[in-house]
Symmetry: C2
Subunit: 456 residues, 2 copies
C-alpha cells in the first residue's frame, strides 16, 4: 500500500514528495533521547489544499500521517513509529493577516515564532510565547507550548483563538472565530491545541498578540536555598505583581551557565526576573516589591539589568541552559523531561527530586518556570551506557509519580508524544478512556500520528 501511496504523492507534489534516505532520516526524530523512527515518505505541501490531498491519499491507502514543524519536540512526537507519510509544514509559511486594532494575527502552521515577531516589528505588538526553540506556531499549538513568559501571558491554550485543521478523512475544518470570546458550542480550538497531530493536521493558526511593554527591566538574585527562592515566587504572585518571567535555576545549572556563557553568577539556587510595565515607574515599583520579598527569604540582593545589553546577556544565558547543560558532558545523550505542580508543592518537589540525584554517575541540571510550578530536569547520559539510561528512566518515573501525588501533571509543556503515554492513566484515570473515545470518533482508523498520546 505504501508504495502506491508514495507514487500518488510524487504525482501530486513532484519533488516535494520524497523518499530519499537523508530526508527521511532528518524527519525521524525531534531533539529527544527517543530512538529515531523514519517515515516512508516526506511531503512538503505549500497549501492547505495540498495537505487535504495528502491526507486523502493516506486515507485511501491506509497509511499513517505524522505532522512535522521545526523538529524540536522532546517526547518523540514526530517519530514515525508505524512509518507512513510525514508532512513537513515548512512551506506553509505565510503570515496571512495581522490586525493591530484587534491584537491578533493569522499565520500558516509553518511560520516560526521569530518569523512572526519579525513581521510584527513597528506594529507595537508582539507574540510573547517563548518555548526556547524557534518552533513553528503550528507545532507550538499542537504541543500546547509555553515557556518563560507563560506566567504573564499564558500558554498556547490562552493565546490560540482558532485553528484550521485537516481531519483524518480529509475534511478541512476551521475552528474558533476572531471574537475574543465565544460561548457558541464545544471548544474545538482548545481540543486541537495540545492534540499533537493525533486528531488532524493544523494548517493555520489565529493567535492573540500583546502590546510591546513600554518599560522592561530584568534582575537576577541568588538564594540560600531552593525553598527561599520558591517562597519568593509564591509571595510575588500572591501580591499580584504582574511579573513577566520568573525562572529558577539550581546550583548545577548555574555552574553550567557560568562555564558555557562565561558569566560569573553565584553557584546557588537563582531566580531570574523580567518585569514588563506601562511605565518605568511601574516597572520600578514591581521590582522594588519583589526585591523586598526576596530579601526577607534569603535572597542575596538583586543584580539589576535595565540596559538592553545587560538584559540580553542575562536572558541569552537563560536561553542557552540546554547547550550549557550539554557542555557539562561533551558527547552525552541528553534526556530533558518536565513536570508541573501546584506552586505550594514546588519546593518540596524540587528538593525531593534533587535528593534523588545525589551520588549519580551523571550530571543532572534543573531549571524551572517557577511562576507556573513547572520545572525541567536534564539528565546528561553516556550514550553507550544502558545502565545510565535505565537509571534516568527510574528517576523520571519517580519524579512524575511525585508530581502526580501533589496534584500536578506529568508534563507542563513538553507534551506526551510517546515518551509519557505510560503516565496518562495515573494522571487522568478514566479520562484517558474519554480521550480514546474522542480519538476514535475523529480518527477511527488511527492514522493520525498513531502511537502518540493515546492508542485505540
Amino acid at each position: 500500500m505504501i508504495d502506491a501511496a508514495v507514487a500518488e504523492l510524487k504525482e501530486l507534489l513532484g519533488p516535494r514528495a520524497t523518499d530519499a534516505m537523508t530526508v527521511r532520516e532528518h524527519h525521524s526524530h525531534g531533539e529527544s533521547y527517543h530512538p529515531p523512527a523514519a517515515p516512508d515518505v516526506v511531503c512538503f505541501p505549500s497549501t492547505a489544499e495540498e495537505v487535504v490531498e495528502i491526507v486523502r491519499i493516506s486515507a485511501r491507502f491506509h497509511v499513517p500521517i505524522v505532522p512535522f514543524g521545526a523538529g524540536t519536540s522532546l517526547e518523540g512526537h514526530v517519530q514515525a513509529l508505524r512509518g507512513g507519510i510525514t508532512i513537513d509544514l515548512r512551506d506553509l509559511n505565510r503570515v496571512v493577516r495581522i490586525s493591530v486594532d484587534d491584537l491578533d494575527a493569522t499565520v500558516e502552521a509553518g511560520v516560526t515564532r521569530l518569523q512572526l515577531n519579525k513581521a510584527l516589528r513597528n506594529t507595537g505588538l508582539m507574540f510573547p510565547i517563548d518555548p526556547g526553540a524557534d518552533a513553528t506556531i503550528g507545532g507550538m499549538t499542537a504541543t500546547r507550548a509555553s515557556g518563560t513568559t507563560a506566567v504573564r501571558y499564558g500558554t498556547m491554550r490562552e493565546n490560540v483563538m482558532g485553528v484550521t485543521a485537516v481531519l483524518a478523512d480529509g475534511r478541512l475544518v476551521r475552528m474558533g472565530t476572531r471574537a475574543r470570546k465565544s460561548s457558541a458550542g464545544y471548544d474545538l480550538t482548545r481540543l486541537f491545541v495540545g492534540s499533537e497531530g493525533t486528531l488532524g493536521v493544523i494548517t493555520d493558526v489565529t493567535v492573540r498578540l500583546h502590546p510591546v511593554p513600554e518599560a522592561v527591566a530584568a534582575a537576577v538574585c541568588a538564594f540560600d536555598s531552593i525553598k527561599g527562592a520558591v517562597d519568593t515566587v509564591i509571595a510575588t504572585i500572591q501580591l499580584g505583581v504582574p511579573v513577566a518571567r520568573i525562572e529558577l535555576l539550581d546550583d548545577v545549572q548555574m555552574d553550567a551557565v557560568n562555564r558555557y556563557s562565561k558569566t560569573s553568577y553565584a553557584v546557588a539556587p537563582t531566580l531570574l526576573f523580567e518585569f514588563h510595565g506601562d511605565s518605568d515607574r511601574h516597572v520600578s515599583e514591581q521590582a522594588a516589591a519583589v526585591e523586598a520579598i526576596a530579601s526577607e527569604r534569603g535572597g542575596r540582593g538583586f543584580e539589576w539589568a535595565t540596559r538592553l545589553e545587560d538584559r540580553d546577556r542575562l536572558w541569552h544565558a537563560r536561553h542557552n541552559v540546554h547547550f550549557a547543560a550539554l557542555a557539562l558532558r561533551p558527547g552525552c545523550l541528553s534526556w530533558a523531561t518536565d513536570v508541573c505542580v501546584p506552586i505550594s508543592g514546588l519546593s518540596d518537589c524540587i528538593l525531593e527530586t534533587k535528593a534523588d540525584h545525589a551520588n549519580l554517575p551523571f550530571p543532572v541540571c534543573l531549571v524551572g518556570h517557577a511562576g507556573d510550578g513547572n520545572f525541567h530536569v536534564i539528565y546528561l547520559l553516556d550514550p553507550a551506557s544502558q545502565e545510565e539510561l535505565a537509571e534516568a528512566r527510574r528517576l523520571n518515573e519517580r519524579m512524575v509519580a511525585r508530581a502526580l501525588a501533589m496534584g500536578g501533571t506529568c508534563t507542563g509543556e513538553h507534551g506526551v508524544g510517546y515518551g509519557k503515554m505510560k503516565f496518562l492513566e495515573a494522571e487522568h484515570g478514566e479520562g484517558v478512556e474519554v480521550m480514546r473515545s474522542i480519538k476514535r470518533a475523529l480518527d477511527p482508523d488511527n492514522r493520525m500520528n498513531p502511537g502518540k498520546i493515546v492508542d485505540i
Copy 2:
C-alpha cells in the same frame, strides 16, 4: 419508562426527588423569552455519588437529564424539551478547598460566585468572573460565562483548571489537574467548559483565584458618538492599559439607568471604567492615560469615583441595567441576546444594529463588554404581540449574521441552549459535524440535555 424511573429516584432520594408541579414549573425555564418546558421529575442530590446514581437510572430507563444551577440562563439551556430528570445542584454547595498559596479553589457545582467570594474574605484573593447574576460556578462553567471583568481576568475558559463530571453512562471523571498548565493529553476540561450539560453533569470545579487589587478606581465618561467610545476602547487595549472593566452603554440604556437608579448621567453613549492596580499611583497612571485617550476621541470628561460608595453606586447602576431596561416597559417580555465581534468591527456592528432599531414599536437597550467586542441587546416586547416577537426574531437574526460576517460569534457569553442552535452551521460550518461526532462518542443515546447545542 419515566414512571419507573421516578419511582427509583424517589426510592434513592426520598423527598429530594419530586414530581410536584410547582417544583417542576420552577425548573421549566431560565430567564429567557423561550417558552417553559417542565421536566417529569426534579432531583436534589447532595453528593456526586448521588448524581452518579441518578444518571445510571436515566441510562437504564432511557430518560433525559437536564442539569440546573441558579436558573439564570438566557437561551433555554434548562428547558426540559423532552421531559425527563432535572438535576438541581443547589445542595452540592460546599467550598471543598481553598489554597491561598496556589491561588486556586475547588467548589461543588452548586456554589454560587458570591458564596465563593464570601468564603474568600480575609484571604486577599477573589474570584472575579462576574456575569451579573449570582450564578452557580457549575452553571458558569457549563455555559462558559464571563461578564464585565473578562477583559482583565478572562472568562471561565481561562479560569477553570479542572472539573469533575458524571458522563452519560454514569462514569465519574475528574478532568484537569491543579497544575497551572499541562501538556498531558487532550484538554477535556476546556471541552466541558461551555458544553451546557450535553456531555455530562459537572459536580465540582477547580478555579483560579486572583489577588484582590491593592488599589481600585472607577470612572464614567460620555461620548459624542458610539465610534468615539469604541475607538477609546481600542486605543486603551493597544496601549496595554490593564483596565479591569470597560463597559459601553448606549443612550437608550443610559436613559433607562437614570430612570431606574435615580442617577443623572448624560443620555449619550457612555463608557464605564474600572481600574485595578498594585498601587494608587499605578491606578492613577492608568486612569490618566485613558482619560487622555478619551478626550481625543470625543469623551466629554471623566467623572471620577474613587470612594467606595461612589464606585458602588456606579457599578450598582451597571449591574441593574437589565432591571432598568425592564422598567422602560412594565410587564414586558424581555429578550436578551448577545454577539461578539473583533473589536475593530465593534462600532460598525453596533451602529448598523442600532440603525435596525429605528422606528420600532418597542424599546431596545444596548450594553456591551466593549473591551472584548461583546455586546448585548435587550428587546422589550409586548408579551401578547406575535408581531413584536417575530420582529425581535428578525432583528436578532440580522445582528447575528452581521457579527458572523465580521469574523465574530453568534454568542459571546450567553451560550447556545436551543435558542441559537440555528446559527451554528453558519458560524462553524463543518465544525458542527465535528461537535456532533464528539457528542455521539460521549452520549450515544442523546440523553444529556438533549436538543441543546447540537442534536444527533
